[in-house]
């Protein structure tokens, strides 16, 4: 709790936290939506924002406000699945490579380096084309998770490398702690904040890729996400036809989401760096 209060003193954490909280509330509103997001023509097409349709309606005959609540919910779910599953991979790879070292380290780091060099985006596009029909919230989350761990595994590995050299590792090993217990009890507490900040970055990455793939038409387009809303707006040429409200809503929501995630992550990683923490919080 003290950590949280310290963090809230940073304007970036403060705003990031509240914007994200508002986004969750907004996503929660989707449970009360009067319209079914999979149906078209529920409301008149192409209406400007008005008291009846707060954010207007689109050319598919859907209410943009309620669609947006589903979009935020789905985009966040995709990001959370991708983030959590890839954390499992990243932590496992990072810990094994960092703690065991030697041959397994070299092999694992070779794999992660290769993932970093290859143009992943296009590989994901090819794979997405393969399972185009069944690209739903869960499968997209898992697809992104398979590719999104490489850099974070490296970060976690380097932290484990430095922890391994500390005295308490020797103390623990000499007093008979097994590898699993050592890693879980001794290393995890140190690595947790780092894992958390990589999780936030990874979620931002996943939301970005979700939007990209959706704009390319590689998602199941009947699922409302921030990306599919933009896909429909592009394919109906909303900007050229003057339907700015259709583009403005998903863009504003995406911008807020990206800013909130970035600010949270910057704030947390500065907090992790004690020299900067002293500057901000004061020597306490």
């Amino acid at each position: 709790m003290k950590v949280f209060r310290d963090l809230l003193r940073d304007y970036r954490f403060f705003w990031g936290f509240w914007i994200l909280a508002m986004m969750l509330v907004f996503a929660g509103l989707s449970l009360f939506s009067p319209y079914d997001p999979t149906l078209w023509g529920e409301v008149p097409r192409d209406m400007r924002p008005s008291p009846q349709y707060w954010l207007g309606t689109d050319s598919n005959g859907q209410d943009i406000f309620w669609m947006a609540t589903f979009a935020v919910r789905n985009s966040l779910t995709i990001a959370l699945i991708a983030g959590l599953v890839s954390r499992v991979i990243a932590v496992t790879v990072g810990m094994v490579a960092g703690y065991l070292g030697g041959k397994s380290d070299r092999v694992l780091m070779f794999v992660s380096d290769s993932l970093l060099v290859i143009p992943l985006f296009l590989m994901i596009v090819l794979l997405a084309m393969l399972i185009r029909g069944s690209m739903n919230v869960v499968s997209l989350g898992l697809l992104l998770a398979i590719f999104g761990w490489a850099w974070d595994a490296r970060l976690i590995r380097s932290q484990i490398l430095s922890l391994r050299e500390r005295d308490f590792t020797k103390t623990a090993v000499l007093s008979g702690a097994g590898t699993v217990r050592l890693v879980m009890n001794e290393y995890m507490p140190y690595a947790t904040p780092l894992i958390f900040s990589t999780l936030i970055n990874n979620m931002a990455w996943a939301i970005g890729l979700e939007i990209t793939l959706a704009i390319l038409g590689l998602l199941d387009l009947s699922i409302p996400t921030l990306g599919t809303m933009l896909y429909w707006a592009i394919s109906y040429q909303a900007v050229l036809l003057g339907r700015w409200w259709w583009v403005l809503t998903p863009i504003t929501l995406s911008i807020l989401l990206f800013i909130a995630l970035y600010w949270l992550s910057v704030s947390i990683s500065e907090y992790l760096d004690p020299r900067r923490r002293v500057q901000r919080v004061g020597a306490a």
Partner: protein
């Protein structure tokens, strides 16, 4: 030592990444349920072409050969590499029978031109601003710039592109919001065409430059701030070196080193860095080509673009990695 411990493993990795990457590109589309030959014929029919039964078999045979779908997977795989070695990426299914390599070659100058220019421009401007903001980090304008960078930095470039598009399509109509040049103009080296290209690429370029600047600004500011605190700067100041000399010779020069490395690394992105921005502005580069390929289900073209990018990006990164030590004598691969 350098050779054995760094160079050789790095080159082996380069070759393996290309090998596995391209093998994956070969396998993935073959897992698809639909047959591209039958699809193409279906499309020909849908466009109203009537085919005689005899001509049909001939067309199927021709297409199968053309798409490299003859024989077992293994035969196809060998033939695939043989064709690649000749720089042959097959023909586009949709813009039949234009070779994929020709389509890429037409789109490439647009993409590379846009990204090379914007990468360099944002590097120059971002670093200049960042250097001064870091040196005068206590001042009001430096803090304002920092705040602006904090807001712009997290946005993906295409989201920012959309925001600019909305702004310039409705609020201020100064620049064209789509296309690469005026419709009907033929690419050539005359002034009218160049002018039209610059005019049309202004918005996509602006969106990339502003975002890029935010990134360079932030890192440069941090580096300069830390260099200013170094003891050799304080020593220089105490020994009466002029402020001007301290700034140019001691601070900026040292802060620039990591930025040059960063610039080299970001050059690896000039082939694939702004695909969606191109789509947003209908800019005729690789991104728009990819978009059309995906919409039309043109697997050969998508594969071609992917193979090209694997080669281009891994090669750029390899070159950058190998010339690192020339830039920064402090990095020695030991």
């Amino acid at each position: 030592m350098f050779l054995r411990r760094y160079l050789i493993p790095r080159i082996i990795q380069y070759i393996l990444v290309i090998f596995f990457g391209i093998t994956a590109v070969f396998i993935i589309p073959r897992l698809l349920p639909n047959d591209p030959v039958l699809r193409t014929i279906g499309e020909l029919r849908a466009r109203g072409a009537t085919l005689e039964p005899g001509a049909m078999d001939k067309i199927i045979a021709d297409l199968t050969q053309m798409y490299g779908l003859e024989g077992s997977w293994f035969d196809q795989y060998i033939a695939f590499w043989q064709r690649l070695a000749r720089g042959d990426l097959g023909v586009s299914f949709f813009q039949f029978p234009t070779p994929v390599a020709t389509l890429i070659a037409t789109a490439l100058p647009w993409t590379v031109g846009l990204l090379l220019t914007t990468t360099i421009l944002s590097w120059v401007f971002g670093n200049i601003l960042g250097a001064f903001a870091g040196y005068y980090s206590g001042s009001r304008w430096s803090q304002v710039l920092d705040g602006v960078a904090m807001v712009i930095r997290p946005m993906p470039y295409y989201i920012f592109a959309f925001a600019l598009l909305l702004l310039f399509a409705y609020a201020v109509r100064w620049f064209p919001v789509s296309g690469g040049a005026r419709l009907g103009m033929q690419p050539s080296w005359n002034w009218a065409f160049i002018q039209s290209v610059l005019w049309h690429s202004f918005l996509p370029a602006l969106s990339i430059v502003i975002l890029g600047m935010a990134v360079w600004f932030q890192t440069m500011k941090l580096v300069v701030q830390s260099v200013v605190g170094e003891s050799y700067v304080q020593y220089a100041r105490l020994s009466g070196v002029t402020e001007r000399k301290i700034v140019t010779r001691y601070v900026f020069r040292n802060a620039l080193l990591p930025q040059i490395t960063g610039l080299a690394l970001s050059l690896g992105l000039i082939f694939s860095g702004a695909l969606i921005t191109e789509i947003v502005f209908s800019y005729p580069g690789l991104g728009t080509l990819l978009y059309r390929a995906i919409i039309n289900g043109d697997y050969n073209l998508i594969m071609g673009i992917t193979i090209f990018s694997i080669f281009a990006i891994t090669t750029t990164v390899l070159i950058v990695d190998l010339i690192y030590p020339l830039f920064d004598p402090r990095i020695r691969y030991s």
